[in-house]
């Protein structure tokens, strides 16, 4: 077992997260939020707050901190707090109080009296459907798309001509990432500029946004995040506390620390949208899919920050079909910003598509695995580019054998007071990678540093860097110090899209071969230990005469550097997605299996067994990989049975704390079995890894709903599923 390098510091409390940084003279900020969902700030009475002992500054849109709207490469136009008086959602940041202590800031904040000119708020997704608009911002292209077989006029015709059809509408709730570490920052200005300690998914993005927002040179901003307490897509953009702490620290000339409270995290950050999805499937009697139609609606805030691309994330690519039509609409509401959350598109999209496939299996009286295998795709419908490496059938075969699928009966079984059912679903996540640069430094003491500015928000990237660095330099992992989470390091992109291993990993390999070339050149250069001779590299050593053998004349790289009186030698390597995307389609695949028990009388749904079998390319660290898979599958249980924001008519979230926003506890989670079929995907990148941060949440909710159907004969088409959904009287 490979232990995580950050395991010991984390479990012993040694790991310093953003808010663990303290500085002499530091002040504390507290964010104030709106209590209406639509309107304008009429006035904010701050006199009492300002006169509270210890208060150093009270900032509002009437007396704002100066911040400009940044434009980010990844996320487009950003948002900075306190710049205008418009209120577009309940819980919007409208003020910032800075004081000598956290308590003083918070108590003063409670004294601020806000008056609003209120407008009617549109907060109900159901009501908003009437004014839905085409989603222009779908990350995977145009809002709608159709692929029709020759001679077929429309998807309606294709469905009408199908021997068997199913047609149903599914709903998924809005969710918040609710990472353990709330969004927070400590900002310190000195002669060189600004340093901000803040948890994020890659420190270059926030550094860039902060420089723009504060109107200072890029080189004057330093963002540090060696440890991140969870991100899941919710820490891609610079947070409100980071902008406000940085601006206020400049204003009062002292370091400022600011953190959102747990309750504030639910509205003052961003959430996963709610969705409504209608899926129609048409098939021949033998189970061959001939028509797939998937229309989706996603909630979105008035700023249209993000829509959940459920149709594009699933039906676009998953099954072979001659006829396909998908569409994506946005439903603008007075709700907090929306953003990426673990498997955006795929997670809620798979609930609809994979439930519909199960409904089709029932209509066809076919085994759900058989139906899926029959419609396995070699390439996305209507496209020529074949999957680079796809072993989904094998995932289903292994899973079925391990899970005892053959014992499943169409009506489930009964065990005492419990109705027991089995369900399955496909999982898929696209194989992506992002541009990344990694620097490798060989040091005279025979150690190496592998460094990039990306983040390890709990994914295990730090350990992966040391493993790939060691492998590429042909030395032991103990000789490698990986470094992450600092914008002063080479730009390592973002931990997002399950890309970090493929992106940073392949850049590490490029950096390693560059630094080795450099080392060999140095060794054979005039004055070098192998002056004028051929050299070769293996096992951390430079060999003379270009030949590597056991007793050959050789020196370690450290010895070479010492001989040349060098402390170190550094090179960087960069990679970016390129050519490969013109040759293949890329995706990780998986088969989810689940057993549920439903109480005959009181109808609680309990997950009693879970298995996920995944095809995710090469696995670098099996322990961390399993841990990622478990986390995703547990989150799938959460989405299926627990998690969902409850938006009230006035735009307030009725359950914006961890007492009301339920996530599973240990007792809700059974033993989870995972298995990986390992086929390195070197067509995607030279590391062969495809990433597995997100795939394991995909399909879980559908597998559970399908198992509930098997157990009870009741089809639940909305998540989270509640016990009352199964009460018939």
């Amino acid at each position: 077992m490979i232990a995580r390098l950050d395991a010991a510091p984390k479990v012993t409390g040694q790991a310093k997260y953003a808010v663990d940084h303290n500085f002499p003279g530091m002040a504390y900020g507290y964010v104030v939020l709106s209590t209406i969902a639509n309107g304008e700030l009429a006035a904010m009475e701050v006199t009492a707050a300002r006169h509270t002992p210890g208060v150093l500054g009270v900032y509002t849109p009437f007396e704002p901190l100066e911040l400009r709207t940044p434009i980010s490469q990844m996320l487009g136009e950003g948002w900075v707090p306190l710049q205008d008086k418009e209120i577009a959602y309940y819980g919007q940041p409208i003020g910032f109080v800075v004081a000598e202590t956290f308590e003083a800031a918070r108590d003063a904040a409670a004294l601020i009296e806000v008056s609003y000119t209120e407008r009617p708020a549109l907060t109900s997704f159901a009501e908003g459907l009437a004014t839905a608009e085409d989603a222009k911002t779908g990350p995977r292209g145009a809002p709608s798309l159709s692929v029709l077989a020759e001679g077929v006029e429309s998807i309606e015709d294709a469905l009408a001509a199908s021997e068997v059809t199913v047609d149903a509408t599914y709903e998924t709730a809005s969710q918040n990432h609710a990472a353990m570490e709330p969004h927070s920052a400590v900002a310190v200005w000195n002669a060189d500029g600004l340093t901000v300690y803040t948890g994020n998914q890659g420190s270059h993005g926030p550094a860039d946004e902060l420089a723009q927002a504060l109107n200072i040179e890029h080189s004057a901003v330093h963002v540090v995040n060696p440890y991140v307490g969870g991100a899941f897509g919710g820490k891609g953009a610079t947070s409100t506390p980071a902008f406000l702490a940085a601006a206020a620290a400049r204003n009062i000339g002292r370091p400022v620390k600011a953190a959102l409270t747990r309750e504030q995290v639910f509205t003052a950050t961003a959430t996963r949208p709610a969705t409504v999805q209608r899926v129609s499937l048409g098939a021949r009697n033998d189970g061959t899919l001939v028509a797939v139609r998937h229309d989706s609606w996603s909630s979105t805030p008035m700023s249209r920050s993000f829509i959940e691309p459920t149709s594009h994330g699933t039906s676009r690519e998953w099954y072979a079909t001659e006829n396909l039509a998908i569409s994506q609409k946005a439903v603008p509401l007075n709700i907090p910003p929306t953003t990426f959350m673990r498997a955006p598109g795929e997670a809620p999209g798979s609930f609809a598509l994979e439930s519909a496939v199960d409904e089709l299996a029932v209509a066809l009286n076919m085994d759900p695995i058989g139906l899926r295998k029959r419609n396995n795709s070699a390439a996305p419908p209507g496209e020529d580019l074949q999957w680079s490496s796809k072993h989904l059938d094998e995932c289903f075969d292994i899973g079925a054998a391990r899970f005892g699928w053959s014992e499943r009966t169409p009506g489930g079984r009964v065990d005492g007071d419990w109705l027991v059912g089995l369900g399955t679903a496909t999982a898929m996540f696209p194989g992506l990678r992002f541009p990344a640069t990694v620097g490798i430094t060989l040091r005279a003491d025979d150690t190496a540093v592998v460094a990039t500015s990306g983040a390890d928000p709990g994914t295990g990237l730090l350990t992966v860097l040391s493993l790939i660095g060691a492998e590429s330099l042909d030395i032991s992992p103990e000789q490698v110090t990986p470094r992450l989470g600092d914008s002063a390091l080479p730009p390592g992109g973002t931990s997002g899209g399950s890309t970090a291993t493929a992106s940073a990993g392949s850049a590490t390999m490029v950096a390693a071969s560059t630094v080795i070339d450099e080392l060999l050149r140095l060794a054979s250069s005039p004055g070098g230990p192998f002056d004028g001779r051929e050299t070769a590299y293996a096992d951390g050593r430079v060999f003379a005469d270009g030949r590597v053998f056991a007793d050959g004349e050789s020196m370690t790289f450290g010895e070479v550097l010492r001989a040349m009186e060098r402390i170190s030698l550094t090179a960087t390597g960069s990679t970016a997605p390129g050519e490969e995307r013109t040759k293949h389609s890329f995706g990780s695949w998986g088969a989810q299996f689940c057993e549920v028990r439903v109480h005959r009388l009181t109808r609680e749904i309990r997950v009693s067994r879970l298995l996920g079998v995944f095809d995710a390319g090469r696995i670098i660290n099996p322990t961390a990989a399993r841990s990622q898979l478990l986390g995703g599958m547990i989150w799938g249980v959460s989405a299926a049975l627990h998690e969902g924001l409850d938006v009230e008519a006035n735009g307030r979230f009725a359950n914006a704390d961890l007492a009301g926003y339920l996530v599973p506890v240990n007792a809700d989670i059974p033993e989870i079995d995972t298995h990986l079929v390992e086929y390195p995907d070197t067509l995607l990148s030279n590391v062969g890894a495809r990433g597995l941060g997100e795939i394991s949440i995909v399909g879980v909710a559908a597998a559970i709903a399908n198992a509930v159907y098997n157990a009870t004969g009741i089809r639940l088409r909305r998540i989270p599923m509640m016990l009352e959904d199964l009460l018939e009287d």
Partner: protein, 320 residues
């Protein structure tokens, strides 16, 4: 949290004199102080007072400061009490929280806990946000136009089933009150939840001896399997002779504004055979007089099902 003055008296007399808000485990009080729902200026830590001990000589006497975990683990405690405690909160909370504090815990209504929202219980006369709002967790029994919040304690449910009493001690001396009479329904004063007087202490919980309560259980139905309040719960005990129910105790939680004893269900069980049909017929009475809200209509069915399940688990040892 607002600044406060703390005193730590060692005797009951001294505690009475402080005039402060009592602090036992603090799991309700400190929680609500952090949310600014409770803002006491003076706090009296009562943990040094001699309110400990569990005596099972004749019935049960439990010192008010005994921790939930201690009471649950005591061998002399009726099964439905220990089960209700073990299904409450989490181990960490049960280690801190006292039995006296448990009976005085406040409702989990989300509007009560959010000071920016109208709530008659927290701010009399401001209105009840739950009636037209998120009320899935709320009461279908004992509610009023002014408040529909449930009483959230689990252990109070078996305690009312067992007709427990509280020993109270105040400036005017000591008195004993039946737990069933201790709680007040919201009516038009939801801010008044019980008959405790200003400065009065709960010193002891007394459970009268009921030997057949050794055959009792507690079933809790909730949105997750641990660490969550009840959507509905039922405490049941049966006295059976020759397959016929001689006597029964039934109380429910999670559905009413106070722990709710169902005398009608008990009466309907008496004289009936131990059989599913008897349980179902009796449980149907639990639906009488229920007043569901917009989101909790399912509780009318659930309360009956929970009672039947509890009776079946007790008599058949139904699988968990």
């Amino acid at each position: 949290m607002r600044p406060f003055e703390l005193s730590t008296p060692a005797t009951l007399e001294a505690a009475m004199d402080t005039g402060g808000t009592f602090l036992a485990g603090g799991t309700t009080l400190v929680d609500l102080m952090k949310l600014d729902v409770l803002t006491p200026r003076r706090i009296t830590d009562i943990n040094a007072l001699p309110l400990y001990g569990i005596d099972t000589g004749d019935g049960l006497r439990i010192g008010a400061l005994e921790r939930m975990s201690e009471v649950a683990a005591h061998p002399g405690v009726y099964p439905m009490i220990s089960r209700a405690l073990l299904l409450s909160a989490s181990q960490q909370l049960r280690n801190m929280a006292s039995i006296g504090g448990n009976l005085l815990q406040r409702t989990r209504c989300g509007y009560f806990r959010d000071v920016t929202m109208p709530c008659n219980k927290r701010d009399p006369g401001s209105g009840c946000s739950a009636i037209g709002g998120a009320n899935r967790m709320h009461a279908i029994l004992g509610s009023s136009r002014h408040c529909v919040a449930t009483h959230a304690s689990d252990v109070a449910v078996p305690l009312v089933a067992l007709d427990a009493q509280l020993r109270l001690r105040g400036a005017e001396g000591e008195r004993t009150v039946r737990l069933a009479d201790f709680y007040r329904l919201p009516g038009d004063t939801p801010e008044v939840e019980n008959v405790l007087r200003q400065g009065e202490l709960i010193t002891e919980v007394i459970v009268p001896r009921l030997d057949w309560a050794a055959w009792s259980t507690y079933v809790k139905v909730r949105d997750r399997q641990s660490y969550e309040f009840a959507l509905c719960s039922a405490a049941v005990a049966l006295d059976v002779a020759g397959g016929v129910i001689v006597d029964a105790r039934v109380a429910v939680g999670g559905v009413a504004t106070a722990p709710w004893r169902l005398a009608g269900v008990e009466a309907a069980l008496r004289g009936e055979p131990v059989a599913r049909a008897s349980f179902e017929a009796a449980a149907a009475i639990a639906g009488h007089g229920t007043e569901p809200l917009s989101q909790n209509g399912f509780k009318v069915s659930l309360v009956k099902r929970t009672i039947v399940r509890a009776l079946l688990e007790l008599t058949e040892g139904g699988s968990r």
